[in-house]
């Protein structure tokens, strides 16, 4: 679903995420199942860009949420494959690491949030 989503929703994703994020997502979608990987950094960046698009109502807000679903599936797949045999403690550490990544990217969110609205 992630692969078809990144390909078919290109026109929608263009109005939500940056060109750089979109190309990285499309690259991830081009990988085969065995090598598929949606990194924490890319996921955090994409989520913040979605949040910013929702904030400025880039397109209909319902559509923004719906467009996030395939990306979430991709990230969930990566998380499950990475932690398939992980012990509960290691799993906790991975989740903590993801939280740290989101914290690390917070200035990026602030930058997006305060950026002047497109077209104004």
């Amino acid at each position: 679903m992630f692969c078809s989503g990144a390909k078919d929703l290109e026109s929608v994703l263009k109005s939500i995420v940056s060109a750089d994020t979109l190309s990285q997502l499309q690259y991830a979608a081009s990988l085969d199942e065995a090598h598929f990987h949606l990194s924490e950094e890319l996921w955090a960046k994409a989520v913040y860009e979605f949040a910013s698009a929702y904030h400025r109502s880039a397109i209909s807000r319902d559509h923004i949420i719906q467009a996030l679903a395939p990306l979430y599936r991709g990230r969930a797949y990566t998380f499950v494959t990475e932690n398939l045999n992980a012990a509960p403690d290691a799993l906790g550490e991975r989740i903590e690491a993801l939280c740290v990544t989101f914290e690390r990217f917070k200035p990026y969110l602030l930058e997006l949030w305060s950026a002047p609205e497109r077209g104004s």
Binding site: M1, S4, D8, V12, A67, A69, P70, S120
Partner: protein
């Protein structure tokens, strides 16, 4: 004989001079009206552009997908298109009012028809604009729904929704303009009818088991509900 010719020529010249003297002030009036009309149209253009920027008209159009549609057709942004249209219609309208001062026989009637046609033209434009917004919105909704439901050919579905809404919009706009009403209505009825019939046949043949299952489930649940209601009824 010569005197007669000279007299006729003189009379013709006098008539021409009289006509020209009669027309010249009107021509000047028309030119002044055209100039004033241009100034009014320009002011209106500036005011409308500011107003559209204030209400974030382009942003609204972008959200609804109308901007992308216009850029695909190599047209300017929706606000520039609207501003340009208002400018030209205002100027041409005032220019025509000025031309009517020339008092040319038959022209008055056509100018009257043009002015009567303007409101219908604006309504048709408004219908087209709304249709474009709706087509962009619903095409995107169909695309997202199809991708998230893992349906095959989501783009085809999305484009079908877009084309259907645009066809409906164009037929409504043409009906408003009074252009080829019958042809448009008949064409739309045939296309819409064929599409619905095609879908019904496709569903009936391809999904008859699904339809039977759905109806059985629905009818049995209704029967069950009715039975349940009668069980509870104090009567």
């Amino acid at each position: 004989m010569t005197d007669m010719i000279v007299s006729e020529l003189g009379q013709a010249w006098n008539e021409f001079a009289h006509g020209f003297a009669h027309l010249l002030p009107r021509l000047l009036e028309m030119l002044i009206i055209a100039l004033v009309g241009w100034v009014i149209a320009y002011l209106l253009k500036v005011m409308l552009r500011s107003l559209l920027r204030l209400v974030k008209f382009d942003h609204l159009s972008e959200r609804a997908g109308a901007t992308q549609l216009l850029s695909t057709a190599a047209l300017p942004s929706p606000s520039e298109l609207l501003v340009g249209l208002v400018f030209w219609i205002t100027w041409v309208g005032i220019l025509l009012a000025g031309i009517s001062f020339l008092d040319i026989g038959g022209l008055q009637k056509h100018i009257g028809v043009f002015f009567l046609y303007l409101p219908r033209f604006f309504v048709a434009l408004f219908v087209i604009f709304l249709g474009m917004l709706a087509s962009g919105f619903f095409a995107r909704a169909a695309l997202l729904g199809a991708v998230n439901s893992d349906l095959p050919s989501p783009h085809l579905l999305s484009q079908a929704v877009r084309v259907l809404i645009i066809a409906l919009t164009i037929s409504m706009a043409f009906e408003e303009l009074g252009l080829a009403q019958r042809t448009i209505i008949i064409a739309f009825t045939i296309v819409f009818g064929a599409l619905m019939l095609g879908m019904a046949i496709a569903f009936g043949l391809g999904g008859q088991d699904l339809a039977r299952e759905y109806l059985e489930k629905r009818l049995s649940s209704q029967r069950h509900e009715r039975k349940h209601e009668s069980d509870l009824s104090p009567l």
